[in-house]
């Protein structure tokens, strides 16, 4: 079992979800994050004091997939999330020892 984590632009979440659906992946978890990287933030001004906000909003997607599936799915995510501009984000894969579906107690690939 693999866990794919993707840090992407928030606007792309819906595109990625739709792309995954085509792969038959109909489960995923999203959360909010803020990223720091090459992409510049923006400035804000309040009563003459100016701040640079360096962290930009990102979405964090986690998808559990079967072993062997991960490369194709990473490619699908990368393709769907890409806008070609700086700040498109990162995708990474880690190995998972065990997965359980809470409702049924099913384990392993059946649990995803």
């Amino acid at each position: 079992m693999k866990l794919i984590t993707a840090i992407i632009k928030p606007h792309q979440v819906e595109v990625v979800r739709a792309a995954l659906e085509e792969f038959g992946i109909s489960g995923l978890t999203v959360s909010e994050a803020r990223g720091y990287g090459r992409q510049k933030g923006h400035s804000e001004v309040y009563r003459g004091a100016e701040y640079t906000v360096d962290f930009v909003p990102k979405a964090r997607i986690e998808v559990l997939v079967e072993d062997g599936e991960d490369y194709r799915i990473v490619d699908a995510i990368v393709a769907a999330a890409r806008t070609g501009r700086i700040g498109d984000g990162k995708v990474w894969v880690t190995s998972v020892d065990e997965v359980v579906r809470v409702r049924t107690g099913e384990r392993g690939e059946a649990a995803v």
Partner: protein, 471 residues
């Protein structure tokens, strides 16, 4: 001008003016809560901008163009009659000028000014999230001068649509508090601008749900409160007619809530809070022209229909494809027309339902049609002129990012998950710019705060490097 001062009337008009002034901030909440988080400040700023621009203009030439003595073709009055309120406040002997209704003319200026401001602010809902702020300010100045002051003159200032105008030969068109001057005017301008400015990125495709509904309901509550000044104040007296207008402003609005909620319950299965807030405004708009000439029963009917009608009308934009973002058309134009025309049926003294024939109805339809046409033409001219000079739209990329950041360099909220601590004493996401010798700005990341005067134009909306590499 020799009338004695009636302090009771004066008190009522002073507070009515204050109530109507409050409506523009209230509107900014009502509208602001309906847009997405990333553009609430800009939405509110369109109202506050109108407060700035129109407030000053009204005193300079607005009152004079609306109610000045030199009528020009029945369309407007000379801006020079009372420029900067010349001669209106005190007479030659230094005495306060009291008008024939027994209150100071100064108070009348106050009351009328607030109507001009809110009318301009209303339009902004049609072009949410995407309009350049500078263009909006210039539009406000031009539109109030070329569309609002003339229409106020025509209807209330003795012009074409008044008792002195040609339609009055059929019947004098009734517009108690601004069905034509305010709502048809703003609603039509909203439609024209929505078409000229164009749809938002993703309109009809992505979700654009209200970001803060309690703010919308607060706005609706304050609008209702202020509207008692708008309608009952339009009696221009503290008398029985003001009392009637007050009651009608209550029951038409109550009925507007019920009308909208029942309609949406039937059509989509739910009675929503946005529906209740919208029903309030629909009821208020519809009763605006009619408040002084219909019965409370008539007002209930008027409000029920207004709520139901507008609940349906707000869907048209999706079918027809114009992006009237916050339904200036679906609420203000539709309910404004309905209220104006319904007078032809419901006016107790001249309506069809009371056996008075169709003259009033015809007069109402004509007045509405002329107002519609007039505003459509003027707004089209101004809107297109601005489109090809200053430009209306921020860039698509900026619109996606959010106009608040781009146009105002601010974020509306910094409320962390639960406790506010994560963006606390040392906010991880916000690194103050280095202080620099004046004139030598830098963006180096250090720990002191720069004053804005030191910053460069590099941070302005047009900044082409914003998506560029830091490396």
């Amino acid at each position: 001008m020799e009338t004695a001062l009636d302090t009771g009337t004066t008190a009522w008009m002073l507070i009515s003016a204050s109530l109507v002034l409050l409506m523009t901030p209230a509107l900014s909440l009502f509208y602001g809560g309906m847009v997405r988080t990333k553009s609430v400040l800009n939405m509110m700023m369109m109202s506050f901008g109108a407060l700035g621009v129109v407030g000053v203009i009204y005193v300079l030439w607005g009152y004079s163009m609306s109610y000045g003595s030199t009528d020009i073709l029945g369309v407007f009055a000379s801006p020079f009659d009372h420029f900067a309120l010349h001669g209106l406040l005190a007479d030659a002997g230094g005495e306060w000028v009291i008008n024939s209704l027994g209150y100071p003319e100064a108070v009348n200026v106050a009351f009328q000014a607030t109507f001009a401001i809110i009318t301009v602010a209303l339009i902004s809902g049609a072009i949410a999230d995407r309009a350049r702020f500078g263009t909006w300010l210039v539009f406000s100045a031009l539109w109030v001068t070329l569309a609002y002051f003339p229409l106020a003159h025509m209807v209330w200032g003795g012009g074409l649509l008044s008792a002195d105008g040609p339609i009055a030969k059929i019947a004098t068109p009734i517009d108690f508090a601004g069905g034509t001057v305010v709502h048809i005017n703003a609603g039509m301008a909203g439609l024209v601008l929505a078409l000229i400015v164009g749809t938002r990125v993703g309109f009809g495709k992505v979700a654009m749900r209200p970001h803060n509904l309690p703010l919308v309901m607060l706005g609706a509550g304050l609008l209702w409160f202020g509207w008692f000044g708008f309608n009952a104040g339009s009696a221009l007296a503290a008398d029985g007619n003001a009392g009637l207008a007050w009651i009608n402003t209550l029951v038409a609005t109550s009925a507007g809530i019920l009308g909208w909620l029942v309609t949406e319950r039937i059509r989509s299965g739910h009675a929503t809070s946005l529906g209740a807030a919208s029903g309030i405004v629909a009821g208020l708009v519809a009763v605006t022209p009619a408040a002084g000439s219909i019965s409370p029963l008539g007002a209930i009917l008027l409000g029920l229909v207004a709520g139901g009608l507008c609940a349906v009308a707000v869907e048209w934009k999706f079918r027809l494809g114009y992006d009237d973002s916050l339904d200036v058309v679906g609420v203000h134009l539709v309910a404004g027309l309905w209220g104006t025309i319904a007078i032809g049926f419901l006016a107790t003294g001249s309506g069809l339902f009371y056996g008075h024939g169709g003259a009033q109805l015809l007069a109402q339809v004509l007045a509405a049609a002329i107002a519609l046409a007039f505003t459509a033409v003027i707004t089209t001219v101004i809107g297109l002129a601005l489109k090809y000079t200053m430009g209306w739209r921020i860039s698509e990329e900026d619109e996606r990012l959010g106009i608040d950041q781009i146009a105002h360099a601010e974020s509306a909220y910094d409320i962390s998950g639960t406790s506010g601590l994560i963006v606390g004493a040392s906010d991880p996401s916000m690194i103050p710019v280095a202080p620099t010798p004046a004139g030598h700005p830098t963006l180096a990341t250090t720990t002191a705060i720069s004053t804005a005067a030191n910053s460069t134009a590099a941070d302005t909306p047009a900044d082409p490097t914003r998506e560029e590499s830091r490396a």
